[in-house]
């Protein structure tokens, strides 16, 4: 590839965006009782890209993620995942089919170590049953060693070796977010949903996290969909951006296109209605 020096990487990753559509969302609507959270939204996520979903508070971003990973079931519309139209799907089925996510508020096992938390992300990949894992001989043991190796690679990737054995409850918020990303990575997902991966982080932590997300897309080829408030981060990271406002899609395109879109500017700055 023609990465021209140490400049911004997204352009290099974006080269893959001409490829197949991984997830296609068509005219999806979701409502809770009378409240319409999402109205007639369509967009797609292509394999290998970093796709950002942005919008003001209450725009329906998290609801959209929840629809994608099967936590909410839209009343209307269709979702096509890897070329197959998806029926009602449960979160664990989504996980098994290759969709992993992190949460807006860190959801880790606080009393467990970093290593164990990341390891827990492997549980879907474990083939031996509970009994064999407890006995811990032969194939089960070999399997665990293989998993541990994978987990160690992730720990190395995320540079969290120094907190490997520390209970995550004692870690800083920024590090906890990183561990959570590690756990999601451990599932080796095809599509990784990140719900505000940089919320509450300081500048340095944000920069670290951005680097991890970019490297993740580039080196592991993971497709990433992320919700983020920090505009600078989105513009640097994303290949394409979809903008929601009041549950409706108001723009979709490259960061530059979106940035100059009048509707987007209005939604963010607010206009007299």
């Amino acid at each position: 590839m023609d990465a021209a020096g140490g400049g911004n990487a997204p352009s290099a990753a974006g080269a893959g965006s001409g490829q197949t559509t991984l997830l296609d969302i068509e005219n999806v609507s979701l409502s809770f009782g009378g409240v319409k959270a999402i109205t007639d939204i369509s967009f797609d996520i292509r394999a290998g890209e970093v796709r950002a979903i942005i919008g003001p508070n209450g725009a329906g971003k998290t609801s959209m993620l929840n629809v994608i990973n099967g936590f909410y079931h839209p009343q209307e519309g269709a979702i096509t995942w890897k070329g197959q139209r998806r029926s009602r799907m449960r979160p664990h089925e989504a996980a098994a089919s290759g969709i992993a996510r992190t949460f807006q508020n860190v959801a880790l096992f606080k009393g467990m170590s970093t290593l164990d938390n990341v390891m827990s992300g492997r549980s879907l990949k474990m083939h031996r049953g509970l009994f064999w894992q407890m006995v811990h001989v032969g194939p089960a043991r070999r399997e665990e060693i293989a998993h541990r190796r994978r987990v160690e690679e992730i720990i190395d990737f995320l540079e969290i070796a120094h907190i490997r054995k520390k209970p995550v409850g004692k870690l800083s918020y920024g590090l906890q977010k990183r561990v959570e990303l590690g756990r999601a990575m451990a599932m080796e997902p095809e599509l990784l949903l990140l719900d505000e991966p940089m919320a509450g982080m300081n500048l340095e932590e944000k920069e670290d996290m951005s680097r991890f997300i970019l490297d993740l897309a580039r080196e592991f080829g993971t497709t990433i969909a992320l919700i983020e408030h920090d505009m600078g981060v989105v513009m640097d990271l994303a290949d394409r951006v979809v903008v929601l406002d009041y549950g409706k899609k108001i723009a979709d395109g490259t960061p530059t296109e979106v940035q100059s879109n009048q509707d987007v500017i209005d939604a963010y700055l607010g206009v007299a209605r």
């Binding site: 590839m1 990465a3 020096g5 140490g6 290099a12 541990r148 190796r149 160690e152 690679e153 720990i155 190395d156 990737f157 540079e159 070796a161 120094h162 490997r164 054995k165 500048l203 340095e204 920069e207 490297d215 580039r218 080196e219």
Partner: protein
């Protein structure tokens, strides 16, 4: 044993004599990987052949940029075996600092650890016309960058392997090349960190290093069974000896940690038998111990305090082999079981036969603390220009205030000005492309000016007072040794760094940097709320605590007639941490006095006025190289000085004036 002409010769000898023995370890993905001497030789040979295939010519300089990783250590030997000259560079220096060294040395190759270092070098590439090829160790983020001039370390090794397959005679040619190396040949160029001015490239020959290393190994009886952990900067001469020169000449095993953040844990797993650390590391460790113990249960704390007090009374005597009452000896044994043993295990020093500290004066109390635990911590005094060793403390002749007797083959002399001079087989060849500096440092007879003021005591031990140019006089002509005062304050765990002023002034005043680890812990326990370092540093309670420490130091100083005039009258707590990125510390974390005086001129003014506070705005450099400003109103405290009541103490002062 016969002395060999070059360091690569020692590599070949080790592969022959103890080929199967572990030469190097590296923790990777949570597991310690090992290389035997034979395997290591193969890694080095293939890389060396690869470099030759890329066109490395005799005398070419090769920069090494990165942390302590096996491949970077191998690079030293690989380059030397290919008749090139390795030039290690401080990995944490910013691009501007790095470019000076790379340009000055005229490097043709740069072997970098990772993307960060590669990007840094590439960013200043236009200024480095001689630079042709970059090689990286960790491919992460660089996978799609495998262009002609940025290569993977493994790729270069593959080139070497291919060349060897094509020409089976190549290893013989390679060894013949090594045989052309002679003792007086240039072995390595180490750039001094430069407390003053631009870094200078110290040229050391194979003889310089080999003789010094053999002497040092003999001095402490280091053999092939030692284990050390390599964690200090590669570009620092100390690490070059401990982790490379001495390891090759003695044939011992060097362990590379997983990352710099995991050193403490990794050290614990390795339990090195030979350990070196600058005083700062021992200070930090002690701070951690103190902080942890303050959080411990009362019973544990009582036990800890009891046995530490006992160690203070008898520990050092036991270590020095002096006579100690039997009961105390048994009591100490009990302490070893309950406190000292577990503590040493925590520190990763349970197997340490010899531990050294150097680089700066260590607080006597810190020094004694470790010795009282039964750790044979010693001091040495050295310089890059001397291939480290000038003096070292022999076992049993340990004193916190001295740096020991001259090392083997070293001659010592004190100039009339009080400056320490030495002459030894380790004395450097000269500064690279800087004859002027060479001439002003090294006399025609081979004596080297250290720039340190000191004297030799009645037992033949050298005592260093301060940098020769730093020792000053107050306006009333009483002695002002800044470092002496600073070190006294730095012993308090809450205080990380101190800069004392007083030369030509009427009283001594000081900048204090608080230690965030210790003070934040203290703040937490005392329900002190703060939002940032700056806020914590300005907190009245923190001021009160530091003031207490200053008063205590003043009481100490008052008791010593020679320095009683140098008590601290006014001090302030700096609103930011002194940082190498801002040029306030050297890369080896030494305070750059002149620079700080200039940068904080307004604050120094305030120290010598009656102002209770002063507003400052300071430019800072963030980790990513961007700049910003920190603004603060810094409070200044006055510590009233009691007139020296003791007539005896006051007497010499008057005499002096």
């Amino acid at each position: 044993m016969q002395t060999l002409p070059s360091l690569p010769h020692y590599l070949l000898r080790n592969a022959e004599v103890r080929g199967g023995q572990v030469a190097m370890r590296h923790k990777e993905l949570g597991i310690w990987r090992e290389w035997s001497w034979r395997q290591m030789l193969d890694e080095i040979e293939t890389f060396s052949l690869g470099l030759l295939a890329l066109g490395l010519a005799p005398g070419d300089r090769v920069a090494i940029v990165g942390a302590n990783r096996p491949r970077l250590y191998w690079t030293f030997a690989a380059v030397q075996a290919a008749l090139g000259v390795p030039v290690p560079v401080y990995a944490d220096s910013v691009a501007d600092e790095m470019v000076y060294v790379l340009e000055h040395a005229g490097v043709r190759f740069a072997i970098c650890q990772d993307q960060e270092q590669v990007d840094k070098v590439l960013s200043v590439r236009e200024q480095l016309p001689a630079l042709e090829t970059l090689v990286y160790d960790e491919p992460r983020g660089l996978a799609d960058e495998n262009v002609a001039e940025v290569l993977d370390f493994a790729h270069v090794q593959a080139l070497g392997r291919q060349a060897r397959e094509r020409d089976p005679n190549l290893p013989v040619v390679w060894r013949d090349g090594i045989d052309t190396l002679k003792g007086p040949d240039l072995c390595v160029m180490m750039y001094t960190s430069g407390t003053t001015g631009r870094p200078k490239g110290v040229m050391l020959s194979h003889d310089n290093l080999i003789v010094t290393c053999l002497n040092a190994n003999a001095f402490d009886g280091l053999g092939p069974d030692e284990q050390t952990i390599a964690y200090l900067p590669l570009a620092w001469v100390g690490d070059h000896l401990f982790s490379y020169g001495q390891a090759l000449t003695a044939g011992y095993c060097v362990c590379c940690p997983e990352s710099l953040d995991t050193v403490t844990m990794d050290r614990r797993e390795i339990a090195p038998t030979y350990f070196f650390a600058p005083p700062r590391v021992f200070e930090t460790l002690l701070t951690t111990i103190t902080v942890t113990m303050e959080d411990a249960s009362p019973a544990k704390r009582a036990m800890f305090d009891h046995f530490i007090a006992l160690a203070k009374r008898h520990g050092e005597a036991i270590l020095n082999g002096e006579s100690v009452p039997l009961l105390a000896r048994l009591h100490y044994r009990l302490g070893e079981l309950f406190v000292y043993g577990p503590l040493k295990n925590r520190l990763g020093l349970s197997k340490a036969r010899v531990a050294y500290t150097a680089g700066e004066a260590i607080g006597p109390d810190i020094f004694r603390f470790y010795r009282s635990l039964g750790i044979n911590l010693k001091q040495l005094y050295g310089q890059t220009e001397a291939s480290v060793y000038i003096t070292a403390q022999p076992d049993g002749e340990i004193d916190a205030d001295t740096v020991g007797t001259p090392s083997t083959d070293v001659e010592l002399r004190i100039a009339e000005s009080g400056e320490v001079l030495y002459r030894s087989p380790g004395v450097f060849m000269g500064y690279y492309r800087n004859e002027e500096a060479t001439a002003s440092t090294k006399t025609a007879e081979g004596w080297v000016h250290t720039g340190d003021a000191g004297f030799i005591d009645d037992r033949g031990h050298l005592r260093i007072i301060d940098r020769a140019k730093d020792v000053g006089k107050l306006a009333d002509d009483s002695l002002f040794p800044p470092k002496y005062i600073e070190n006294k304050l730095k012993f308090f765990s809450a205080i990380k760094e101190v800069v004392a002023f007083g030369d030509g002034r009427s009283y001594v005043a000081a900048f204090v940097n608080i230690d965030l680890t210790a003070v934040s812990n203290w703040a937490e326990r005392n329900d002190i709320v703060y939002g940032s370092y700056q806020e914590l540093a300005a907190h009245p309670e923190v001021y009160a605590m530091v003031r207490g420490h200053v008063e205590q130091v003043n009481a100490d100083l008052a008791a010593e007639p020679r320095v009683a005039g140098a008590r601290i009258h006014r001090f302030l707590i700096l609103h930011k941490e002194l940082d190498a990125d801002d040029g306030e510390l050297t890369r080896t974390q030494k305070v750059r006095r002149a620079f700080i005086s200039e940068r904080y001129e307004a604050l120094i003014d305030a120290l010598y006025s009656d102002d209770p506070e002063r507003f400052v705005s300071t430019e800072v450099t963030f980790e990513d190289g961007r700049r910003g400003r920190i603004e603060a109103t810094v409070r200044i405290e006055t510590v009233p000085l009691e007139p020296l009541a003791d007539a005896a103490a006051a007497e010499p002062l008057r005499e002096a004036s």
